[in-house]
Subunit: 358 residues, 2 copies
């Protein structure tokens, strides 16, 4: 038995209080809130007045417990730090808010174990659906999701062969397109500065896409031309510095993110490397700042806002038992700006291919 005594004056206002005040039953008040059309107009008016007068705020926990609906959707993203996911989150939150849903946000720092834990925590909190990033997760995560039968969706990826619903784009193709573009311009010494590929299928796919696109053209990608670093501006700078200490520096560099590309441009200015004359640079994301860099950054534009909206739509449709596409492929665009052009001295490239001694 629980005989706690609470000061009645400071007690939370409940449905019961509203019902008493409006002189009706709790069921009627509940109906007035959740399906007003079932309640007579005058009674409804009385109830509304009582709610205002008492300052009643429904108790979400009780509501969630009884109805099994929390009106909360969870998102598990790698990090907010790099602002890469800011646009996704922003549009997700907006779209959910339109339908009265709130967003519970969680990060895992590219650690699959933490991702699993955080997802479990979200389920504990009673989220009705979950938005994830990427297609490769801990095995336990899939079991968990299957067990709870909550709708979920992977974003930032598109893979119709996957067992899991996804909304995004094909990272391989997107990166491959950028690689082919550089090759078409005439570049043959192409370097890659990628974000961490460990536990990150998006970055890994982009790298793979570049590699295979170049191989199709008969070019291979030596390990000296691939540098992997977290998405920080200073890492882009450092990577460029390393590349320009090579006996044969690249004539073009593909970056795994605009942030890394920013660092590259910054360091080029520092070292006196002229872009795009001496070096072509391509970014990835098309963040706000990309078009305002000097020269303006050629980059791959991704549908961050659409992904957020579509992910919310997908979850909401599933929750309302409406049909929803499990696989949504969104457009990616190669946005050509000022940091790319054909390599300065196409003729000098021959030297490498045909040594004098041959």
């Amino acid at each position: 038995m629980d005989h706690r005594v609470t000061d009645p004056a400071s007690r939370r206002v409940t449905l019961r209080d509203v019902a008493d005040h409006a002189n009706c039953s709790t069921a009627t008040v509940s109906r007035a809130l959740n399906s007003p059309e079932q309640v007579a107009v005058e009674v409804r008016a009385r109830i509304d007045a009582s709610i205002k007068a008492l300052g009643y705020v429904p108790n979400g926990a009780a509501r969630a417990l009884r109805s099994q609906r929390s009106q909360i959707v969870g998102a598990v993203i790698p990090t907010i730090k790099y602002s890469i996911y800011a646009r996704l989150i922003e549009s997700l939150e907006r779209r959910l808010a339109m339908d009265g849903y709130s967003l519970l946000l969680t990060t895992h720092d590219y650690d699959p174990v933490k991702e699993l834990e955080q997802t479990q925590l979200l389920l504990t909190r009673g989220v009705e659906g979950i938005v994830l990033v990427g297609d490769s997760h801990d095995g336990g995560l899939h079991q968990l999701l299957a067990k709870h039968r909550r709708p979920y969706v992977n974003t930032y990826v598109f893979n119709p062969a996957s067992k899991h619903p996804c909304i995004g784009f094909d990272n391989r193709l997107a990166a491959a397109r950028a690689a082919r573009y550089l090759h078409d311009l005439g570049h043959r010494r192409i370097a890659v500065i990628t974000g961490p590929t460990k536990n990150n299928d998006r970055q890994a796919d982009r790298l793979a896409g570049i590699r295979s696109a170049l191989e199709e053209r008969g070019l291979d990608l030596p390990s000296s031309m691939v540098i992997e670093r977290p998405h920080l501006i200073e890492n882009g700078r450092e990577a460029l510095e390393i590349l320009f200490q090579l006996p044969e520096p690249p004539t073009a560099v593909l970056c795994g993110s605009d942030v890394l590309a920013f660092g590259v441009l910054s360091e080029c200015q520092e070292l006196g490397v002229s872009v795009p004359n001496q070096l072509s640079v391509v970014g990835f994301d098309d963040q706000d700042f990309a078009k305002h860099l000097r020269p303006a950054l050629t980059t791959v534009g991704i549908p961050a806002v659409e992904m957020g909206i579509e992910a919310a739509n997908y979850i909401l449709r599933k929750l309302n038992r409406q049909p929803a596409n499990n696989f949504t492929n969104l457009d990616v665009q190669l946005i050509v700006r000022g940091t790319t052009m054909p390599p300065a001295a196409l003729s000098t490239q021959g030297k490498r291919a045909v040594p004098v001694s041959a």
Copy 2:
């Protein structure tokens, strides 16, 4: 009466199931979860095994309803779009996660009514505490918070005269310091590009701080020298363009954010305005990119990460009934880099003050 029939096989696993499986009462299982030291080691082991075997996940709604603790803290911020608040959110989420709390995130787009609604929604969801941005909110918001007796804290501001707890810095002083610095360098034609000041006491305070600092030095700030625009790079560019169409363009410009300053630098490069020779530029925030701009941006460094951590600490301490400072003032630094120097032609400034005709 509620006679819903659910397939028992697919029913959610509850405490009851665990108790049955471990052959003990629900009370014991609950204790094993919440205060393990009260449960005998062997029983605890049995329970742990049962939890694993059944894949039990606690129901947060039930827990919250009974214990009045949701383990959720809410944050109401203006927007995530400009990435200005990303660092705050990141560190807030991290710190909360350390104590097993989750973050419910909400935005209001500088609309006080939406801010109020969103806060009410958070309270409905049962958040235990609330983190806000700024010190000026709708009156109804304060009533709401008072009524619910939930700990809350204003961030990004420091005002010991306020009735509300806050963690941040003095925006007036911070901006005034930057203004004095420019004056000390010898600048007399100083312009301001501010973010929206409507419903935004931080920006308004910064502008006021600049104005009064200049007035102290006998300089006034004509309205032609103040441009107000949302925090977008293109707006910084546009503002600079406008300023340089004036008959007497400024020799220095103070920006309400690094984002605006970014735009200014970008446009200067476009127009051939040399920074810092022709124009000194000061930003605000010290975002990641500031030090990597060319020239590196002189700016006001704010304690975004600390604010997140301290806000979380404050709420957590309040929830645990531990003493907590209601007013925390964090350090702000003027970070001098490459975009500021004395005005090019100090001598020419005299012309203005002493016309030939006098």
